[in-house]
Structure formats: structure tokens, C-alpha cells
Amino acid sequence: MKPAPFDYIRATSIDHACALLAEAGGGAQLLAGGQTLMPLLALRMSQPFILIDIGHLPELQGIAPHGGGLRIGAATRQADALVNPLLAQALPVFVTALAHVGHHQTRNRGTIGGSIALGEPAAEMPATAVALGASMTLRSTRGARTIAADDLYLGPYATAIAPDELLVAIDYPAWPADAVPLFREVARRPGDFALVGLVGALAIADGRIERAGIAWFGMGPTPIRARQAEQALVGQAIDRIDVQAIADLAIADSAPFDDGHASAAYRRSVGRRIFANGLMQALDRRLAA
């Protein structure tokens, strides 16, 4: 298990990396944390001609307030984000989800943007971006553009990021500090990809849900927003919610499949249960508070 030959280039700036991407015409691969890419290289499942290292670029690091929400530089290390006070305060559910990404050792190198750009359908970060309504800033020699997380994921490991584009930052809109966090993950072992997972937040005002963002992971070819469930929740009094009915709506939006670890039927059944239980417990906690 040794990588096939490639040219390694340490980019000196975002512009440099974009120029290299444009020049390579699809034959290049970006390297940030490398925690997913390196095994793929070693397995020779990925055989780029050029590997462009962007992991160290200062322009891609950091977590800062931006437009009312938070902006996370794409190459921010997961371990750094995990202990970031801004994130802990503004988006606690993001931190909860992040703690489930890989292992301590891989989070020490893995990046937020890398996980988001990879588009693993059973991973936590893409679904969290969808649920919280994040948007991504992409750069290429053609310019910059922004794309909503909802529009980013096309299929397993397939995203709307063009071969010459680089994910620069992820913007998470503001959620109320007291938003109810939702997070449930069913995985064979710690650090494994989810068999079934859900992540989201509920903004509550005057005892009613005024905003809901919920997404599944491991429940289809991409992270999937539980759109019907969100719509049904908005406007409801939190002590009057039929969690089973909401869970049914959430499952209706999922599209699970069979794989070596679990069947689609399992994912659907367990998804319904953890959704209903997760929602009920989250609401109960809020009602008790």
C-alpha cells in the first residue's frame, strides 16, 4: 500500500493553489489534512498527477464572526475547532457533531473543509452544514462564488465543487444561543461512519418553534435535509408536538440503502426511533429548563 507517483506542490497562497488547479485541468488533488485522502492514495484508489498541499495556508485557517454568524476557514483543524470558544457558544451542536468525526489522532490533522468537501454521505460535517444552513465560499481562477450546503451535495463523494475550485470557507448563519440541539448517531464503533445519524437545531421563541434545521447522515447518497419534518415543526408549541408523526415525516425524506454494515430497512426503522426519541428528549430538556 504505497501511493502511485505524483508531484507534490506546497501552495503559497489561495491564488497559487487556484492557478495550479486550473493548470492541472482535473489531474490535481488538493491535500489539506489528508486523513481521508492519504489512505485513498495508499490504496491507489486516488492517483493524481499533482498533489497541491493547502493545509498550512494561513488564509484558510481560523474561526471568526462573519455576517452575524461564524466563518470557519476551510483548513481549520478539527481539533482546533473542537476547543474553539466561539463555536462552543454559538453552535454547540456543531461541536457535538465534530466530536464524533474520526478519532482524536485524525482530528489533530483533519480539517473542517476537508470533511465538508469530501461529501461522505455518512459523515457528520456535511450533514451539520446542511442542517444549520451553511454556505460555502469557493474560489478558482474564474473568481469566487458562494453555494448553499443544500446545493453542494450531488451523490456519494460527489459535490458541486468544480475540479478547478477550492473551498475557502464555510459560513454558518447565526442560531439563537439557546437553540435546542439535536444530535444522534448510531455507529458500530466510536469514530466509524454512521449507520444512521441526525443533526440539527430548533430555534424557539415564546414556547414555539420558529426555525428548524435538521439533516440526516448515513441515510442516503448525500446528507439529506428532513424538510417535511422541519416544516411541520415550525410554528408548533413545544409541549404539543407529536414526535412520532414528525419522525415519520423525517423518514419520508430519507433515502437509505443496503450496505455491508446495515440494511435500508434497519436504517429507516432505527432512524425513526432515534429521531422520535432524540426530538422528545431535546424538547423535554427544554421544557424542564
Binding site: M1, R188, D192, A262
Partner: protein, 904 residues
Amino acid sequence: MSAPPISAQRFIGQRVPRKEDGRLLTGRGSFVDDIILPGMLHAAFVRSPIARGTIRSIDTDVARAQPGVHAVLTQADLAPFGVTMLSFFLGPVEVAMTPLADGRVAYVGHPVALVIADDRYLAEDAASLVVVDYAEEAAVVTLDDARLGPRVHPDTDDNVAALMGEEEADAALEALLAGAPHLVSQSIRHQRIAQSPMETRGVVASLQGESELLVHITCAGPQLVARWLTLALDRPGLSVRVVAKDVGGSFGLKNHPWMEEVSAILAAMLLRRPVKWIEDRIENLTAANQAREQEMTLRAAFDTNGRLIASHADYALNNGAYPMGADANIAVHMFLWAAYNIPAYSFVSRGWYSNTPGLAAYRGPWAIETLARETLLDRAARQIGIDPVEIRRRNLCTAADQPSVTPLGIPREDITPAQCLEKLLEVVDVPAFRAEQAAARAQGRYLGLGLAAYIEPTGAAGSIAVMTGELAQLRIEPTGRVVAVMSVHSQGHGTQTTMAQCIADQLGVPIEDVTIFDGDSSRGGFGPGAGGSRQGVIGGGAAIRAGRLLADKVKAVAAHLLNASPEAISLSDGMVHVAGAPEMRRTLREIAEIAYGEPGRLPPGMETGLEAQYRYDPPPMTFTSAAHACIVEVDADTGFVGIRRWVSSEDCGVMINPAVVEGQIAGGLAQAIGSVLLEDAARDAQGNPTAATFKDYALPTIFDVPDFEYVHADTPSQAEGGFRGVGEGGCIIGPPTLVNAIADALAPFGEVPVDLPLTPAKLMTVIEGQPWPERPVSRFHPDHRAPEVDAPAPVAPAVAAVAPAIAVGIDGAWKLVLATPMGPQPMVAHFQVAGDRVTGRLEADQGSQEFTGTLSGDQVRWEMKVTKPMAITLKYELTFAGSSVSGKCKMGLFGTAKVRGERA
């Protein structure tokens, strides 16, 4: 030899820190990949991407032309070496087999070519450029495929790799089963397991001049590897030295070299350069030999009191394409009911060839028997309506039931499974648990308690020729340091510590003063290495006896020097003491300097030096017993199993080092947890591996394994030191303990099929009342297409007439070869025909025996009883044709072996 008083023992029984740990904790171990030799080249294999087919062509030209590439080898290059691939029993494997594929490929991962290059990167680059053209055929993957599909090997009659037991139903036994008040049947399936030592396989081979082959290899025993290679290479004048200092686990995988290691060794001989091959993890998970993949239907009949009447097992084991010994797993049947009292047992057992990696050993290779029996007992308890504890109490073999012999002839004298169970129940409060369980169920939480009991044969030597005794060579050096060269070998067993404990006690020295050398076939004596939970029992016995011999010599020398009687001399604290005369004490160094350097001061006629050796062979069987309990909670929302408590109650006799004992139990239990819940080296219908990384082959993590609790009994065995083996037990008793707990937890929902692994998805089907996931129907099933029917075997003509001409042709001596599961047995048979009566004599290495039989046409039949390895009756049936003879020998429960021969 005088035994030292018990009080002299200071280290046996203590949780002594391990001597190995200092180097391993600081990165100073010496594993095979740490070996770097001048001029060393690196190997990478080209492997078959298909499970079954023929090789039309191999084009190595482009690969060979790459920079840094020294050779691209195929079987055509290796064939001139004439290597004979051998089984674990050191006989030629039963099917045609070559180090690299010879025209046909038989599993995904089958090595087809070998690239030798300056480094592994370049070797892999070139390997990807070798072009192989295959003609693919439908693969035989599962046991059903093997039963129904085409032959895996062109040179066999069918896909049965090994057959034991009774193929025809035993009418008397069937009557017992059918007529019993309770008949319980349990069909179980165990998935394929990858042994997964953290260190993969690997070898560094180099010729040292013309006459020595130096092989660094990660293995279970360097002497066995040297023996295997010497026989396999069969090159007069070539000495094989095998070195393996530190080994990163084996668990049965590394017993002896296989295709890859042999190919790399031949490459080193061919290129006359050191060659290193280190298996990568994808190779290890997809192409290394594997284990388990078994099915069994076990039936047991009980009387109205829940006591066993009779039992029958129908068992199948996937041998893969090239098993490291074709196997129908006789031990499964020998020990299936050995811990229990049962009047009658019969079985049929088949190993099957398939287009998958070959069968290797795995910790407790026969463990399926405990899984089948203990899960059946729980099922029986539910069916009959008695408690799982009670059904075991009524049937376990107690002290009062011994000595006794099982239906398969296993003598029991000191097994203690019933005592282990009672000791277990002193710490596991079953009634309290039942109350907790009931309360939890009322809240929708599902707790379960699993119990299991078993015995296991350990420390075997002599019953299988390759499993020999162990040698300890011991010396007190002139410096006073104690050095032992042992034939045992650690793959994590800590034998450098435990053997030192045994020796330190005999010589009365601090353990720091004892050094154990092992891991080099050029030093010390022969031993087969780890396997069958043997090293503590046999190596420990050898260490003690050699230590005792040496202590006696020290005493004799000291007594002579100090004008004392040997009885007055004692050894402690590294000193020689004289009773009643403390001022006379001497250091071992003082005694040793004289013993080596001043022959004139020794007793007349005494050999100089302080050296001793002892080769220890233990009693034929040393049993370890245990009973375990575990408590689980199954999450009814997810099907996940949480293990809340696990208690082991075992009797492995005198413990050399309880921390090492508990480490062995814990490691086995962790692997059991993996087998039951997580691991699956599955192949798809085309024979492709579905778990090629540790992401998909899910080993237990720290979060999957609970804290284990231990209860120790210490019934001394009859072996030296009173030790009993403990290496495999956790992996044998663990699976049913956990499966029973899960089944108990989910009993409100129905029975849980024993179809491992018990994934959350499978368990949810029980919780939700859905059908258990069905296995795909074999592609060779009639529903898919008509099965291939082999041509019927030629039937011997049923002619009773005696043909004198043939009889004349039979008289005299014949050279015969009996193909037994333990390798070929050469024999010479002498026949004397008189009418239809034949008398004769069979001569083998073990001795000769007379027989009387009958002649019918050109066929001679006779029966003879033998006592080794067990009391069985051999039934020979030979057909003579000119100067050749062929036929079979029915060997009771060992199945049927082919016989071939010619005139002597």
C-alpha cells in the same frame, strides 16, 4: 532430582512485571520489518482479481523495464526449485499447489507474480504494470457453493477436503434422539474470521554463502518454520536458520510459511540478494489465510429431568482453496460434550474446498463446539422450561463423575467445569439479576444473562507428531548470571517472563538475573512454537526440570567445595547457603567460576561447568476448565449490545503469572466479542472480499470491551508444576457466553438465530418481528441451474469368485502410502493369500501389526485395531491391479483416507 520445598518458590504465582516490556515500550523491539540487510530488495505481489479461472498469459515486459526493478517472477521462474508445499502436519498438501499460481487461480488474492525492486514503492509501481489475461469461471465461494458447484481443484474427486465421522445415519442413535422426551436442535453459522495480528505477515530472506539460508520471519515458532522450510525446499547441503525475536501476534495465522513467504525466499535464492516482503493490511485482510466459516446442526435429546441422552452433530467447515492442512476439525467432536455426561454421540464432519483464501488456525480452532453446545443448552433450557444454570448442573461432569471416558474416548480425571460454575455463581448473583431484569423489562429495557461452561485440551505433545515436547537449556555463566535458551517462542505470550519465573524459583536467584533467549532456530532445541495453549505447560515444565537438574549440580559442587552434604545446601538470593553455617555462604558466581575454571576442585569425575538441559513431554492431555457469565443490555431502539459485566471463572491449575493468565483470557474474550458482534471477513458471490481495510473489518475497540472480572481455581494438573494452558480459552468460551446473554435479553421477542456476527441490523429483525436476513441462494443451486454431477466412481465388481491368478499377484511385499489428515504415512504391507483368506503384516514407523482379512476378486479387506492416537478400528479395502494397488482405509471417527501403493 530433589524437589525444592514449596517455600523456596518466590516467583511462580506472582504478578511479575514482564521482562519484554522494557524494549517494547521504548520502540526497541525487533520485528521482522525492522530487519534491514545490506543490498536488500523489496517484494510486491501481483494478485488475482478473480476467484476462479485460468491464466491465459502473463506479460511482465513493461514491469521488468521499470527503473529499480530487478525481477518479475512467475511460477515458471520458481518451478525449478521443486518446492513441496506442506501442511501444518508437514505432509504434502492434498492438492497440487505451487508458490505462485501455476496456470489457474483459485481465490481473489492468489499470488500470480512477484516483483522484486529497490523499494516497496517501485515494486508496487511495477506490479501494477504486469498484465495478466484471465479466463474467468464461476467461483465456488460458500459452503453451499462447495456442495453444489464444480470442483475447486481438478485433481480431486469432489470438493470434500476432509471427511470424518459416520456418513450414514446411526440407527440406534437416531432412535435415541427420536424417542427422547425432549429433542433440541440448534443450527448455527459462524462467519469467516481474519486473525488480524497487528503485525502482518512478513519475511526477510538471505542466502549466507552457499550453505545457509537465513530467514527472518514473523512466526509462531522459528524451529517449526525451519523444519517446514527444510522439508519444503529439500536441498541437501542447505541449512535453514530462522530468526524471529519479536512477533506482533499470530493467533494461528503464522504457524508456518505459505505461498508469499516461500516465493520471497525463493526470490532471494534466485537473485542472491536479501529480499524483504512485508504484507500490507489489504493483503492481510483479503489474501492471507483465514478461519472459522463453519456451519453446524447439533441435535441433543434430554430426558424428562433435562439430562442428556444422546446427541448428533452435522458439521461443515470452509477450507478455502489451499488450507494449511485439509481439515474436518476432529477436535470439534472430540471435545463437543467432553465437559458433560452424555451416553451417546455421533457426528459427520466435512471440510470443503472453495475459491477463497485457505483455512489457517485461529485461536481455539475447534471453538465452534462450545458455541454450538452452550447455545443449544440455553435453547434446551427455554424449551424444557428449566433454568440455564440448572440444565448445566444436571449434566456437567463433576468430580464424582471421574475418572471416566467420553463416548469418543477422551479420558477425564481432573476436569472441573462444574466447580468453575459454582465458583462463578458465588460472585454472579443470578436471582438478583433476574429481579433486575424483570424490573428493566417493565421499563422497556432488555437485560440478558449468558452462561457457558467448557473444557479445553491444552499443552498437547505426542498425540500429533509435529507437536513435540519443549527443551530448556540452562546455564549459570561464570559471571553468575543465569541464561536459558528455550524452544518456546512468544508472540505476546510473555514467555521470557514466565519461563524466567520458573527458573528463578529453582535456582533461588532474583528474576533480574535470569535471561531467556528464544526466537532463533540455531539455538536451543526443537519445539513447534505457540499453538494449542502449550507453552506454559510444556515450556514451564522443561524450565522447572532443567532448573532442578542445575540446582542439583550446584548443590553437589558446593557440597564438595564446602565439605557439606548436598542435603544441607540451599539456594536463595543468588547465594549458596549451608544449613547452620551462614558464614559458609557463597555467591553463585564464586561457585560458577570454580565449576568452569578449576576442574580439580570439582568432585571426581564431574563434568565441568554449570549447565543442564531437559526436554519435557507432558501427560497426553492437560485440561483447562472454565465457566463464564456476562450481562448485556440490548438497546431495543438500535439493536446495539452493551456489555455491562463479564466474569470469568477458570481453572488453569497453578498460575505462573496471574497477570499473564488474565491477559490471555482477556485477549481471547475481546476476540470473542469481535466474532459475535463485529468482525466479518465476508466475500461476495463472486468471491471478492468485502472487508479490505480495518474500517470494514471491524476489530473491537476499547469501547467494545468491558472490564473483565476473574475467579481463579487452581487445581494442579498432572503436568510438571501443575500448570494448565490458558491461551485459547477466552476465544472458545467467550462467544456462547455473549450469544446466550443476547438471546436471554431478547427472549421476550423470540429466539435469536446463532448466525454470526449478531449485527444491530440482524438483532433489530428479532426486536421488530421481522424475518432474519436470508443468505443468498448458491449460484449452483438447482433454482439457478442444474448442479454438475461428477461421473460416478467406478464400483468394484461384486464378484465373489476367487481368481487364483490375481491371488498369486498379491502375495508378497507392497509399499503403501496412507493419506491421513496429519500427512502421508508410508507403510509396507506383506500379504499371503490362501483361498479367500488373506493374512499379512503392516509395517510403519510406529511398529508392525499382523492382520487377517478376505480376498474377493481383486479386492482385499481387513480390519485392525490401533491405540494411537486413539483406540480406533481401521478398515482397509484395497484393489490390486498389476503392480499397483489403491483403495481406502476407514479410520473410525477420523474419516476415510486414501491408500495408494506399488510392489516393493
